[in-house]
Every structure is written in structure tokens, then in C-alpha cells.
Amino acid sequence: MNNIVACIDGSASARCVTIAAAWASGRLDTRLLLLHVLERPSAPPAQDLSGAIGLGSREQLLEELTALDERREKLALEHGRHLLEDAEAIAVNAGARDVARKQRHGDLVGALRDLEEDTRLLVMGRLGEDHDIAAHTIGSHLESVVRSVHRPIMVVMREFVAPRQFMIAYDGSATASKALELVADSPLLAGLPCHLVTVGPVTAEQTRQIGQARDTLAEAGFDVTTATLEGEVQSALGQYHRDQGIDLMVMGAWGHSRIRQFFVGSNTTRMLSHSDITLLLLR
């Protein structure tokens, strides 16, 4: 639990990710680990459709494929090192004291899982290298990372500003309550004004839960404002943070089963693809 892991790639969000991670590293007084994963493209490069194999074909093919991979990976390695060096400079500039760099081969999810033991917080951008920054989609990795890495994940959108106040999207579910406890225990957001927001209609049971939640947070020393919103979850939350000038939203990720999500969709997925403030996903 002694690293803030920031996922760095060649995308536009790498800079914001670095700054966000540097901020978190300062708040938590934890080492910042800049991670770049060298993923191998699945599509093979050249094609030889002659279909003929002769003496030594297998050996020759192995030699050819190895040479191709070698050339490509060398370039990728070099490129990744530059990205990490740039990110390190940005992080130091942003006030990070303890910064480490790491490059791994393989796929991002696998690499993050290998590091999971030592990860306190994971920071990544919404979109990777393959996407246009304006697209309202989720990067190809984000969802699988959130699903398989059981650590808090901070998802940075277009820009990152150090939050002056934050909000918690609360629905009384088990995941949301767990998320709440994590926030109360962590120094990451300590001292910042907190908005405890629920999207109605609210049942009596939920009202009771909100009260409890408020008490938990207040006990932990937070200055809590509660609010109950009306309407469609994602747009109501969006409207609220714009009105209040909030820069970070905490939410429990995927409270429902995958089956339910498949049929009715998921608030988490919608928030991930449409939010324009930083999200802190807690599982």
C-alpha cells in the first residue's frame, strides 16, 4: 500500500494524470509511481499468404517475427521512457517529492494487478492513446481496470484542478456506504468541504441512511452539506457540481450485478463517459 500509481501513455490526458497523481501523492504523503505499460499490438505486421512451407520455414519464421518485435519494442521502449521522463518533470514541478518510474511489458490490466499489492491509489485518464479527446466514450482499458483492480481509482477527465471541495454520490447501497467509510478514513480529502448528494426520490430508509452517513463524515471532521436532487442521475449530479463549483466526485463503482447492468445500464458507466470533473471510484 505504498504507491500512488499513475498510468502514463502518449495520450493527451497523461499530463493531467501526472498532476493529479502528484497532488494525491502530496496529500497522502506516499510515493508516486509513474507506470508505462508496453502493450504489444495483437495484429501481426506483415502478411505472407503464399501458404508454402519448406525446409527451415519454422526457424525462419521465428527469426523474422522475433526481429520485427525486437525493432518495434525497442522503439516503444525508448518512446515510453521519454513519456515517463516528461511525466516525472511535470510531477516534480507539481510538487511531488518522491517519484519513481516503471515500465512493464504486457497488458495494462495484468501490470496493474501485479502492482495491486503495493498500490494505494490508482490514477488514470478516461481515454487512452487511441481516442479523440472530445469523444464521450470510455477508453478501452478503463472499464476492465476498474473491474479487476480492487483499489481506489481516480479517473481524470480533460483537466485536473486540485479540489477545493468535493461531493459524494450516495444512494445508500452497500458499495456507497463502503465508499463513504473509505473517504472518512483517508487523509486524501481530509479538511475539504464535503457535499453528500443523493438523487431522489428518497425513501424513509434512505433518509435515515443519509443522516447516518452525514454523522460518520462529520465525526471524521468533514464540513458536510447534504443535498437531494431530482431527475436523471447523471445530469442531476452534473448540474449540481457545476452550480456548486465542485472539482471531484466520489462514488462507489458498479453497485449492481453485471446482468442488471447489461439490461438497465449503469450509473457508473454513464458517469465515466460523461463526467467532466475528476471521479474517485471506490470499490
Binding site: S42, Q47, S50, G51, I53, L61
Partner: protein, 495 residues
Amino acid sequence: MLATLKQEWFGNIRGDLLAGLVVALALIPEAIAFSIIAGVDPKVGLYASFCIAVVIAFTGGRPGMISAATGAMALLMITLVREHGLEYLLAATVLTGMLQILAGFLRLGSLMRFVSRSVVTGFVNALAILIFLAQIPELTGVTWHVYAMTATGLGIIYLFPLLPRVGKLIPSPLVCILSLTAVAILLQLDIRTVGDMGELPDTLPVFLWPDVPLNFATLTIIFPYAAALAVVGLLESMMTATIVDDLTDTESDKNRECKGQGIANIGAGLLGGMAGCAMIGQSVINVKSGGRGRLSCFAAGTFLLLMVVFLGDWLTRIPMAALVAVMIMVSIGTFSWDSIRNLRQHPLSSSIVMLATVVVVVGTHNLALGVLVGVLLAALFFANKISRFMLVKAADEGDGHRVYTVIGQVFFATADGFIAAFDFKEALERVTIDVSAAHFWDITSVSALDKVVIKFRREGAEVNLVGMNEASATIVDRFGVHDKPEAIASLMSGH
């Protein structure tokens, strides 16, 4: 998980489809040729190839590997088909599948680690030789036309890819088959064609339960064949998976592959096909053509069936000479060329293991026997090498007292040497045997030590054993309790 599945299927659509087409074109002649080896109609091999390729695309553990009807398996069924007929072959195929699934659940795929590199090379080479030998009947007692056509076919296969541009776009085996068929038809040559070899598929395969009595007698007939088929099928599949692993620098799930092969074979048996397994030559062709995902194997099977069913009439006119040329190519491509070049550099024992595997397989036409011999030989050579790591030092302490210090590995292969290292003829009053730096691996070594002690006692010497408890603690039969790194370290450091 869903992402992995998507990646394995649709990560490389264009490459997989093109490669699947190339592979299908090469699979057709192979499936026909292997049916002929097994002594069944070509449709049995073609249905099998279709079914196995399509099913394994879903169930296999190695994306990008091609499985279908194979020569290694065909060679094992010859007598079954000759003596009992096709229906028993289908039943044996289903049973093969069941045995392979069982092997998958018992995780026998991991037993592959006992099959050394030399045995694998021997297996591959023997397979290549067998595929080549199976072509000989087509080349004996025929007119010169057949020789000329086969030679031309091979020429086309190997020279066509050298042409600029088109050479790498059109599969040369296809060019070979097309041009030889055209020549045979135009010149109206009276040579054997595929149509002479038996029935070709005219419909899509249908589900059929093998028409055999379900009793013990049937089981005793098919079980030996099914067992051999299951073993050879898994061996070749595991070896091919390793080759594809190496070529693509990715990993495979061997136990899933075992189960997948089993399911594919059950499917093949129920659709009127013969047992099959992964194919080394075809998998190399697939990777070379850019196939990487599951879709490539699926596409190969589907294209094969489409072409066979809709072009069946044309298929019957393909001269056997063209098939022979393609099969000779497969045989040459399967052969491990490196193994010949490495014969001189590799240790003699490795080369002997490799050659013994080849000789036994070619002699018996049974790849399982060859691998068994290879593995046994390799184990013997290994035991022999390890037996050099044993040393008995003798030191004279004066006053008729001698100290023997035993260092190293004492086991069945070193037991005799261990006993011979002591000088029982020396008149001694006291003997100390220090075994604290020795590893006693089995009962043979312990009884050898007993024998030494008794012999000294009978010569009137007083025997003092040092470190016996530690040494016997190293009789490691259940490695499970010692498999922590520190335990191994303490075991290896001589306690």
C-alpha cells in the same frame, strides 16, 4: 474476461480471415490424403477437419493454432478401420474425445514437462517422415506422368512465392492444385484423381450416433485405439501449442487445450468424422499468413466446408499427383531442419534420444511408442548424468581409524559406485562414515548404506555413522512439504 474473449476472437479480423482461407486451401488436400491413409472415404476426413477446426476455435486453449484431421492420428486407425469398419472408428473417436477431456481435468497437460526437447524434435521429424512415406503408394506403379506432375507441383509450390507481388498474395498450393487439375483435364490424362479415392461430401454434415452395439465387447475393441489416439492427439497438440507459443511470444492454456481437443473429437465422431488433433505444418502456415486469433481456426473450418460442399464436383477431378505435391510440402515444412544442423553440436545423449524417437516411430508407425521410448531414454541419460555428482572421500586418522565423507547424490544409479568406494579389505578398528553432506534419494541408496555398515562390522570394525538423520530426511518423495524456497535451499545446501 469479456475483453479477453473479444481480443481472442476479433483482435485481428482481417489477418485471421485471410489466414483462415489460406489454411483451408491447404487443409482440403491434407484431409483427403489423411482419409486415404486411414482407409476411409475422403468425406470422413473433410467432415472431421471442419468439425474439429470449428469446435476447437471455441474450446481450445491456444488461439491461432489449427486443429483438424491429422496424419499422426490417421496412422493409428488403419487396422481398426480395416478389421471393424467405419462405425467403430467413429465410436473410437468419441471415446478418444472423452479420454482427452478426462486428461484435461486430471491436468495431464502439465506432464508435458517430462517430454524433453529432443523427444519433441524426434516426434516432429518422425511425423514428417511418416507423412512423406504415406505418399509413396501414390508414387509406385504409376506412369511417368504422375512423377512429372508431382515434380511440377512441387516446383510451383516453392517457386511461385518468389514471384514479385502476386507471389505473396495467392497461396502457392492453390496455384499448384489448379494448374495441375487444368493440365490433367486438358490433356485428358488417365491418372488417378481424388474422385477415385472414395466418396466426397455432398451435403452439410449431419448428427449421427455411431452404429455400434453399446456393450463391453465394443469397448474392448475400441479402447486400445482410443487410448493411443488420445495420447498421440494430446502430444501433438501440446507440442504444436508450444511451437505457436514460441512463434507468437504468447502463452497458452494447455489443460484447456486438452479438454478442447476432447470436445472437438467428440463432435467429429458424432458428425461422421475421424479423430484429429493440432497440426504443426498448418499452424505454422497460419501464423506465417498472419493468423493469430481464434477466428483463424474457425474461418479455416468454415471455408473448408463451404468449398468442399459447393465445389465438390471440381474436387473429384483434382489429380492425386497435386495432393502428393502438397503433402510433400507439408512433410518438408514439418521437419525440423535445425535438428539436423544441431546433431553435431548437441550432446550425444540428446541426439540419441531424438534419433531413437524417430526410429521407433517410423518402425512402429505409432507416435506414442516413440515418445515413450524417447522419454525413458532421456530419463536414463539424466539419471546417468546425475550419478556423476557423488564422491566418497577417505581420510586416515591414525590408530586404525578411517573417516569416509560422502558428498553428493546417492540413488539407485550411484548405489553400486557408493559401495565400491569403500575399502573393506583394509584392517580397521574404527570407521566413521560422515553422510551429512549427502542426499539419499531412495530406498536403494539407504540399503546400500546398510550394506556398507554391515560389511565393515563383519570385518570387525566399529562403525560410527554421522549425520544419518539429516541425510535420510532428504529422501524426498512428497516434495509438496518441501516446496517452499527456503526448504529447497536448506535441502540443497547439504543441511
